[in-house]
Symmetry: C2
Subunit: 265 residues, 2 copies
């Protein structure tokens, strides 16, 4: 994949093994700042893996409530060199101002819920799922495919990945040094293509903290599947919001934390 | 460890293995918000593992430049139930105001460099190390001890850990769902005890992104050792700031990315 080549950099590294050392080449994942301007106002700077930056910015803005539908987006202008993206959109000002009054820093990799508080979440409605149920073997299969997609991670060991799936198919896949960024990239791509979320499920390589859960709820995602662990807060929110939360999917094992009625074994 | 018991919660989970499922108990790491008030002004809300919250708050404030020395701290008042910590300190207002004008969201687990930009970093001086050199075997040994400390991670699979070491000894160790929080906890504890950093090294379980590097530089830490991968930006900053950056320390192997002259093999 050409994409991979652009997102890594070669370094000379001293590799030590037992009592020997040698100078070798090593590939390392790139990290760069992306500053988002919304309607000429500087909004935020994200540190991210510098690819699919349009998806990232749109996913971020949509998740945080700055934009509601793709028709509101009038222009997207990206300067990759400078790490600046300028988005022009309708009907955003009031929300943006409101959001700027809150500051929450997340436990998650990536930006997380900077712009909303736990309190807000409880205002989220119950997620109305378009998925009646899913076979446990399908979950194992999806996770297997998902891991085969993660080429960049395998090469550099420094990335999180995320996917949006329908039935047995991975529709969108992306990677980033930040868990949240990876999720925003796939969500942003779906947003731009007008793909609805209520019959999709999300796969993530990383831990599921409250913010990942909230992000899923905002988009109406009813099944979140992770290779990693959830937090207690994520489980409680999932229970309340009607989301099936599955963790530690490894090989032929998994833990279903909430709403297991959607999974047929 | 009693500490561990407080920081996890029991849940009933549906465990699937091959084609069998059963309901079992599972322990899950806690996540909770901590809102920091500095001199009566609400500063930020962190999502974190709710223990050692004094260390976390002080580490955060010191790292972000709100407080410069422990003598400036007049009072620390923690309400664990509500997740609120109030800190009274001298000479903070100007800095706090300045910091509030910037918004950067990080790729890292935890709060990262919300309050400073990459640009600021380049104003960091070269780290003056009190460590002449370290044997490679000592690094392997420290990492081995470090991993044995991580009981909570082993139990729940949802935590990052961090340690401050001198010579062959782990002085401070802590864990959190956020990489940055874990680092701030050990740094905050050292700050409160007046322990200087220039002859210490840092161990971390997580990836080393630019913000972890910058955080280390601000505290004058000259050796950063990780089980995980660095980003290209972290390597470049480490090179420039005179920090020895070591990654992928696993068993008897490691990669030394920068300033390998401090490590004797």
């Amino acid at each position: 994949m050409e994409k991979c080549i652009e997102q890594v950099e070669n370094f000379k590294v001293v590799r030590v093994k037992m009592d020997r050392k040698e100078r070798q080449g090593d590939i390392v994942v790139k990290e760069a700042p992306l500053t988002i301007f919304l309607n000429r106002e500087e909004l935020v700077t994200l540190l991210c893996t510098p690819h699919d930056l349009r998806y990232l910015a749109i996913g971020f803005l949509a998740t945080e409530g700055f934009i509601k539908k793709r028709e509101d987006i009038e222009d997207i202008s990206l300067d990759e060199e400078k790490g600046i993206i300028r988005i022009t959109a309708k009907d955003t000002l009031e929300l943006a101002k409101k959001a700027f009054t809150k500051r929450m820093i997340t436990s998650g990799c990536g930006k997380g819920t900077l712009f909303h508080s736990i309190g807000d979440t409880l205002g989220c409605g119950i997620v109305q799922s378009g998925i009646k149920n899913i076979q446990h073997t399908e979950i194992f299969n999806l996770m297997h495919k998902f891991q085969r997609c993660s080429t960049l991670f395998r090469e550099t060991g420094g990335l999180h990945s995320c996917a949006i799936c329908k039935d047995r198919t991975i529709l969108k896949f992306n990677e980033d040094i930040g868990r949240h960024n990876a999720l925003d990239k796939v969500l942003g791509e779906c947003f731009l293509e007008g793909i609805s979320m209520n019959d999709k499920l999300v796969l993530t390589s990383g831990r599921v903290s409250s913010e990942i859960l909230i992000k899923g709820a905002k988009w109406g995602i009813s099944i979140i599947i992770s290779r990693g662990a959830p937090t207690n807060l994520a489980i409680k929110l999932a229970e309340r919001l009607g989301i099936t939360l599955i963790g530690f999917v490894r090989g032929q094992r998994m833990n279903i934390y909430t709403h297991s009625e959607r999974v047929t074994v």
